[in-house]
Symmetry: C2
Subunit: 180 residues, 2 copies
């Protein structure tokens, strides 16, 4: 089954962006690579505010056959040909993708969309890059308002400049099935 | 100089407690020990709400000559003989301790007191134990409202049951001195 991977960079205090959406505090050390991650995915999904920030920063990452989806009830699909506009629930979106053959799905955030995915227990893996900074304010990786969920730590690696990369798998064993 | 060590357990989504103050999601794996940490400190400091929770859970950890301080403008010092009530700013508190010989200072939180310490750039080290859970709501390790601060990753260890222990030192190089 195609998995949903939440893949984000964040500060020690849990922010993915400053209040204005900028992410200048993030960095990618030379010894760190996202190549293995990118091999696994062919779909990227983000919220509308994250898309706005991406446009300001020069456009949406793509290529290699990756399809990018932006969740928005307001954007005009015809006016945004670089991405596909999604006007349905995360659950319906994921179910449609899972009905088709394909690779895994990259959930890029931001905080609001991540919360919607977590509300429906749709996230299968967390891929977190943590930079050694406290910024004290901003947009949170995990906005409050979703049920408790256990994970298993799969990978914990230290890279140069103090970046750590954590990978957690959702651990649904011993829990009542979602929606029960 | 006596250092201030923020030492806390937290979830992946950055909570130190549930909304009611309970911390049942925290755990201490057999292969993990706080002995080295305790050797370094002889003072513990916490906020009033954290103290309330500690009392509900059976009292304040102590012994070994450790003095425990609770920051509160309301509590009656005479009625709480297990701890010392502090009715001054974190900065004055730390300066007084630093004027005396002694070991390092354990800042136990919670979120409000940690923010006050971070506002004054009083935290020298972070000692974070991260449990592999998202709880979705609660009291945050890092409440917003303090200036950006860089850290250096000193230690990143994985323990059983998916606990990771991170230690960061405050990196003040290249920054204007606090208060400048």
């Amino acid at each position: 089954m195609r998995k949903v991977l939440l893949g984000i960079g964040m500060t020690i205090d849990g922010y993915i962006a400053r209040p204005d959406g900028s992410v200048d505090f993030l960095f990618m050390p030379k010894d760190f690579s996202m190549a293995e991650f990118f091999k696994r995915i062919d779909v990227a999904a983000m919220g509308r505010k994250t898309y706005d920030t991406a446009l300001k920063m020069g456009g949406v990452m793509g290529g290699g056959g990756m399809k990018t989806y932006v969740f928005s009830k307001l954007l005009d699909a015809g006016a945004h040909t670089d991405v596909k506009i999604v006007n349905e629930s995360p659950k319906a979106f994921v179910e449609k993708l899972r009905a088709k053959e394909g690779k895994d799905i990259w959930l890029m955030g931001g905080g609001d969309l991540t919360r919607e995915f977590l509300r429906e227990d749709l996230v299968d893996e967390l891929h977190l890059g943590v930079v050694p900074t406290l910024i004290g304010e901003g947009i949170r990786a995990f906005e409050p308002g979703f049920p408790e969920q256990k994970f298993s730590l799969v990978e914990n690696k230290t890279y140069s400049q103090g970046l750590i990369a954590l990978r957690y798998d959702r651990n649904r064993s011993g829990e009542a099935p979602s929606g029960a």
